[in-house]
Amino acid sequence: MQVNPWALVSVALVVTVTFYLGHRTSRFARSTHDFLVARRTVRSRRNAAAIAGEYISAASFLGVAGLVLKEGADALWFPIGFTAGFLALMLLVAGPLRRSGAYTLPDFMEARLSSPALRTASTWFVVFIGVLYLLPQLQGAGLAMTMIMPAPAWAGSVLVTVVITYNVMGGGMRAITLLQAFQYWFKLFAIAAPTFVLCAVFVSGGAGAPGSAGSLDEPAPPNFAARTAVTVDTDVTLSVDAPTRVHVDNGSGGAGWTTWQAGSPHTVDAGSELTFPEGSAVPTVDQAKSANLDWLLPSTDLTGLLSTYSLLLALLLGTMGLPHVLSRFYTNPDGKAARRTTVQVLLLLGLFYLFPVMLGLLSRMFVPELLITGDTDAAVIALPTAMLSGVAGQILAALLAAGAFAAFLSTASGLVSSMSGVIATDLLAGKVRDYRVASVGVAGVALVLAVTLPIDDLALSVGMSFALGASTFAPLLVLGIWWRRLTWLGAMVGMCTGGGLVLLAVVLNAVSAHTGGWAPWLVQQPALVTVPVAFGLTVLVSTATSSRVPEDVGAVMLRLHAPDPLGFMRDRAVQRFGRAEEHTRTTQGRHRK
């Protein structure tokens, strides 16, 4: 662990700029209308950048490259699904959702089905999904912090939490819009520039150049290019494909050379240091693909096919169930702008996802030792210094670390702001002060959980919150927008059953991880079952309780689908909380103009 001074400076810069931008734009935020939906004045281009900036979380910035390093071609479904989710959102939800005039997801449910019970239930699901999504962001911040300076993991989490809570408290949605838009472009630069440089280095050196671990098409696993020492931080089980000489120093006196045989697992205790001679094959943590050829080709068995479909379904429909993504769509002026926003998001995300995949490919060749510690999320930041020695590598690593911090900051601020909005308007009175109280409370709870709970793979735990979103809110939104006969009872049963099944899968997964990993693929990727069940139950119960179809369904459908120029749209936030101008007239002029 050596300190990279460039990384310290760049991360400090990102945090300072974030803090400053949030502080500056906060001055314009006065009313609940500002805090919840930024007065609905965000134009499509800026909102698209803000949505993309918020959506590219640690799971995308660090996790995708790590998964490509570990799983190869099968990991490519994550970027596809992350982007396809916005296509589904655009085709089915974006325009009508904005036209509903709702200001939070629970508010949309009440606007459509006029049921306070459903509103309360969806409030809790929003908070649950939000916290589940926020945890990996904060934990990732801690992880990234330990990689650039000798600090405990909680320091990074605390830093990110403090900055975003300050910004959200200061100006809510109004403050974080500019922030997130800025952070998208910064993240794109921070990942594109190092990728171009590293690819140039790789091409000029050629495959199999000094420092690389061999060409990717070899059937054998990657090799260590030099004598390499690896410190193992947690207990791992490693496997090798060929007999491998290894020097094991388990930290408590026992040290010596042994030969690991292929086929049998080798358990290594935490704190051990392994040393491999030059040219030996890189062992891998269980579940990771060891041989390059397996890694390079997508899996062709039936389990792989089905779990790919399941993942795709979860990401496709899960995006529209993420409260922080939806809450950004309420900030557009009208339905047409919301739809245009989504088209641009598709472009921005497609552009971004080219780069983490390329970094993942390079890291397979240059930092294969991460396969031993299982710490594959660190691949992006560890790669530049492994490929380029000296200051050049350090500067690139610093840029990537800063991009990762921008990812934590923008996603976490979006999550905290959307959860605060929901809590302030549904559980509290909906005044600006309630919003601030809610943001402190949410951030505090998430911080405590993030510091105390163990860290998982970033992209995988995010995957679970996508499955949860796809099984709870996606059926409600799609059916609520397009199907007149939906009743609140059907919606409630569908949401609770879908959410319950995913939670069951989460629990089973955790149990199986501690008792030998017996869980089948369906428990790890439950969406293929839970989403159809949620949709089916919603339709079935709604049909059975058709007497409960709300009486104003015709008027609501008119509002959702009538084109914007006809002017049927009603802003529910203004109806309930009043406009900014009225609000400032009634309060003391505490804020500067």
Partner: protein
């Protein structure tokens, strides 16, 4: 593709600005004959009275708002133009009222719109989904495909890491165009 208010709507109100705009001091009314009548005013004024207008005000010949700058003669003439087509604005108003009041005809109009928008969305969605789902199915059915190469890069990597993104963006652009055209047609139908 630009900001929401970039291109002026052919038949819309000035700038397409609606209720949420903060520059409007008061909340917009539910629906009023004013926005319907206004386009007729602005559209007919340059064509109906260019000659007399240019004769009376040679200093600003191209202004379409003589009402604000000049309170005397043209205001009377302008009112006559509005009164000249009361029948059209009242049918347009009636169409809106029918939509708002949920008469059987108004409900039918909205149901048709919903149906056609949903059909477009589902068809385009299924198109993309079929292409995406076909990729792993082909890998499963014909494993030899996974070993093909294009310019030295394995075909699966090209198919998975590059190809889906332009496809999805293209379909998004296409749907946006279709949906906006539908809505424009619908507004034209209601207002005429």
């Amino acid at each position: 593709m630009g900001d929401a208010t970039d291109p002026p709507e052919p038949a819309g109100r000035p700038g397409g600005i609606r209720e949420p705009d903060p520059t409007l001091g008061k909340p917009a009314k539910p629906f009023a004959p004013e926005p319907v009548a206004q386009p007729r005013q602005t559209r007919s004024s340059p064509s109906a009275a260019p000659t007399s207008h240019a004769a009376s005000r040679s200093s600003e010949p191209r202004s379409s708002e003589p009402r604000a700058s000049e309170p005397r003669q043209p205001r009377i003439r302008r009112q006559r133009v509005v009164l000249a087509e009361p029948s059209r604005s009242s049918t347009s108003l009636r169409a809106r009222v029918e939509l708002e009041e949920q008469t059987s005809w108004g409900e039918l109009l909205i149901k048709d719109l919903v149906k056609v928008q949903l059909r477009t969305a589902v068809l385009l969605g299924l198109l993309v989904l079929a292409v995406l789902c076909a990729i792993p199915a082909v890998f499963y059915a014909v494993p030899a495909v996974t070993e093909l190469r294009l310019a030295g890069i394995p075909l699966p990597w090209l198919l998975l890491a590059v190809a889906p993104f332009p496809l999805m963006f293209g379909v998004g652009l296409w749907y946006n165009r279709l949906a906006e055209r539908r809505e424009r047609d619908f507004v034209n139908m209601i207002e005429n």
